[in-house]
Amino acid sequence: MSEEEDELILSELDDEELVSQMMDDLYDGLRDEVCEGVNILLERGWAPYRVLTEALVGGMTIVGRDFRDGILFVPEVLLAANAMKGGMAILKPLLAETGAETVGRMVIGTVKGDIHDIGQNLVTMMMEGAGFEVMNIGINNPVENFIDAAKEFDADILGMSALLTTTMPYMKTVIDEMKEQGIRDDYIVLVGGAPLNEEFGKAIGADAYCRDAAVAVEKAKEMVARRHNQRASG
């Protein structure tokens, strides 16, 4: 059989097969194919939010699970994320047009002295995929960047990331300053990064330690919902 005959024509697949194929392509980090799939589904009349959740987030959730279970490693996750980013770039303006409801608002950044942003970029993408609006303030952020951004963006959640043992204590500096300013309880504080752990998160007064992007989304959803319920009942 020739190579040409082997080639899969995405537009010839039915919806179910196409979504399944897009998940495979996302898993394999095939950005062009994922973008093509997104466009085909949109042409078939799928709502942007449905494309996002069923094809992209669904696929990325499998990637996240296999990363956690040691089946996939960082390079493969980055390639998958890059493919998802391609799809998101098509969907984002459409989602904004359709005025999809925001689940919550998050400011996220890497703490002062730390330039590692792979983790926080993954979290940003997964949070956006889950319906959050995210302001990613990048790397090497002093305390005032976090606090100013959280106020300016009217955030529900403040997320901090660190890759180094030497920079992770700075998260406490940020939380202490929030306490000092009497604004600590205005925000849900989530922390993450390779050297962190549950105990560290508790010790510095964060609301939760998130070991990966999937956990960050779970915790964020759960805590934002709880906060809304408390406000509604209060």
Binding site: G29, F73, V74, P75, E76, L78, L79, N82, G113, D114, I115, H116, D117, I118, I139, N140, L164, T165, T166, T167, M168, A194, P195, L196, N197, F200
Partner: protein, 212 residues
């Protein structure tokens, strides 16, 4: 007496043991084997035995604590004193906590890049856009950096990892022009400026002297 040092791939994957009925045991990262044995031999500290865990644990810090704990427990009854030749090494304080529980000392500092230079001097630089390589890591660059980051298969990922770094600092423990040339090549492959900084053994040697 000069202790034989195994090749780097053995140090990387299997670790190494030179337990010769000394009274003091050093449990170390395999990436430090040559340096530790050099200091030991140079000073004639024949009462120091060495056992090294696989250096590749450097890439999986969550595995360091259980491996160190197991090594301490395995050897505890055979030695008067045991010391752990790891710094924090990305364990987020968990190795220090484990050593405290076990009642053994470890090397102070965040990682070997810091103690080779000297922890105080390293901290004073506040040089957070530098990517560091030691002698061992220069020799093992492909196994510790290039391949685990997938750059052999996907060179397009390089800037996702290294865009915010500005330079590669080669911390030289010994003078070796071939290693310097290799380190320079590593910097070029990562698209970073290059700086060579001779550190010698820094706080490692001082710490070993305290323990010996």
């Amino acid at each position: 007496m000069t202790t034989h040092v195994p090749d780097d791939s053995t140090l990387r994957d299997d670790g190494f043991s030179a337990q010769l009925a000394g009274s003091v045991l050093l449990i170390a990262c395999g990436a430090l084997a040559r340096e530790i044995l050099d200091v030991k031999d140079k000073n004639g500290w024949d009462h120091l035995d060495l056992t090294c865990l696989p250096a590749i644990l450097h890439n999986s810090p969550d595995q360091i604590v259980p491996a160190v704990k197991a090594a301490v427990e395995k050897n505890r009854s055979s030695y008067d004193r045991i010391y752990v030749v790891y710094a924090d090494c990305g364990t987020g304080g968990l190795l220090q906590a484990a050593c405290d529980d076990l009642g053994v000392e470890m090397v102070a500092g965040p990682h070997c890049y810091s103690f080779f230079e000297g922890n105080d001097a390293f901290a004073a630089r506040d040089e957070f856009t530098a990517f560091y390589l030691t002698d061992f890591l220069v020799r093992q660059f492909d196994a510790f950096v290039w391949e685990p980051l997938g750059l052999d298969r996907h060179p397009e990922l390089r800037d996702m990892y290294f865009a915010h770094y500005t330079k590669l600092v080669y911390q030289a423990q010994i003078d070796d022009p071939a290693l310097t040339a290799k380190a320079q090549d590593c910097a070029a492959r990562l698209g970073l400026d290059f700086e060579r900084r001779f550190t010698g053994y820094g706080d490692l040697e001082r710490t070993m002297a305290d323990w010996a």
